[in-house]
Symmetry: C2
Subunit: 298 residues, 2 copies
């Protein structure tokens, strides 16, 4: 798959690439100082960089290894980080801790956190325009813009966040939980994969196979998240555990039972691999990422 | 200039076009219902539609009268409306009234207002991608995406909002006030004009002349806004007057005196017209818009 001995080494190398690119693309300081400080604080707080790595891995799988795709990957991460900042706000989940650090509004105040999120979302689209105009990839850049705007927008992530807020304290059915998660976390994960495919000029059939892989992955990711919230430790996760229970949020293990949730993850993992079988290319990296996500402990 | 007898009729006709296009582009209802309701509430609350009209007028001046530009104009209005929703939030200006109605967070709650704003910002970029992909205007669409992302982002409108919040209660110099306003309101007004130019495929020199026109217009617009806040009535403006004084916000009339502020508006109006002289085309509409803005009473 790669020159690395393990998927962990591959992920670490890509994570470093994404981090270096983010540092290069978003100035560490600027005017107004507090805004740049808040944006960088959240963007550089770490995280697994899973979504941008999926973009890079999908693009590489389809033969695109150029540096330009890094801009697309960074745009995906900016959108993810903005969503975390806004989800953590007092009016939303009111979280104090994120990626092991005080949340953006705890560190910079509520107004600055709202604006830093707005600015990261806006910057993501600036990055995409720059990718398209500078690389002469106009059509791909617009396809990616449409993809991310839809996945992050009212029909995707934002719609999912509304369902999440509305569902708090209510008793969701499994179907409602799945719809909420498909929008809230699934849409952007799937889009991250699809953006890599667009950047590589994938054919419609290839795009579809990668989409299905991304959907299965996103679903499995959320179930594992719920299982870890139930069973993991705060030190491993960098955020409080048991938060779902405390807020009476519906989760997969709560609705299905822990064993059934684990079985569902295994099933989705197998589905993800079978979608990759439809690609006429080596897909070792994407397979190993799926395995890593299905078995992760943080 | 147009078939209308007056600039008021022209503005009314374009306002109707923008309103109809917005209603067509953003579904009135959707799932989750509350999100669509909040987005539509703020987007359809009226307003002068000045920014999208500037986009249309600039495009028409440069010979582009197609319906596709309406999508670009609507994207501009979505970004403007999102910025109003977020600026009105309790953590920001904490405003109760906007366009004669309760602000979005007063009507739908704070979480929904944050998300409705996020969704309108995101939807703006979806509209731009759709303009580019469906009209085969990929390069123009990306130039417009870059333009709006920069004008709305950390170096533009969001940066200006941070300066505005930081300046509250402080005694700004005239220079600081101008920088703040250039970012907070000037950048998007200027960008609205530039987007019309890009949509029409204007040359670099034409783009520059229109940019300078837009800059002068944006500056004048803010001074007139300050004068109206001081002198207008709430019924005329659809929002409380005297708000700047009550919040001890720096304004042009407060820093320069009312007479000097009026003289500055007249000077900027003359500048705006002189920039239009550089265009080898009839510019009656843009001239009359400038006059209208310099002399408006609401």
């Amino acid at each position: 798959m790669t020159t690395e001995a393990s998927i962990e080494q591959y992920l670490e190398r890509q994570r470093e690439r994404v981090n270096r690119a983010l540092e290069k693309l978003l100035p560490g300081r600027g005017h107004p100082e507090a805004l740049y400080a808040a944006m960088n604080y959240s963007l550089r707080a770490g995280g697994k960089r899973l979504r941008p790595i999926l973009t890079l891995a999908a693009a590489e799988t389809m033969g695109e290894r150029g540096e330009g795709v890094l801009k697309v990957a960074c745009a995906v991460e900016c959108i993810h980080t903005y969503s975390l900042i806004h989800d953590d706000l007092p009016a939303m989940d009111n979280s104090d801790l994120r990626r092991g650090l005080p949340t953006c509004h705890r560190a910079f105040g509520e107004a600055m956190a709202i604006l830093a999120g707005d600015a990261l979302l806006t910057f993501a689209f600036e990055l995409l325009s720059s990718f398209g105009l500078e690389q002469g990839r106009e059509r791909a850049a617009l396809q990616i813009t449409r993809e991310l705007a839809r996945a992050a927008g009212m029909e995707g992530m934002i719609g999912g966040q509304v369902l999440d807020l509305e569902g708090e304290g209510a008793s969701l059915s499994l179907e409602e939980l799945e719809l909420m998660n498909r929008k809230k976390t699934g849409a952007l994960l799937r889009a991250a994969v699809r953006c890599g495919a667009y950047a590589a000029g994938a054919s419609p059939l290839e795009l579809e196979a990668l989409s299905d892989y991304g959907s299965a992955l996103g679903w499995a990711f959320q179930i594992v998240d719920d299982l870890l919230d139930l069973e993991g430790t705060a030190a491993e996760l960098g955020k409080p555990t048991g938060a779902d229970q405390a807020r009476a949020k519906a989760t997969y293990p709560a609705l299905m039972g822990v064993d059934a949730a684990r079985a569902k993850v295994a099933d989705l993992y197998r589905q993800a691999l079978s979608h990759l079988d439809r690609l006429p290319r080596p897909t070792d990296t994407l397979r190993q990422i799926a395995q890593y996500l299905a078995t992760r402990t943080s």
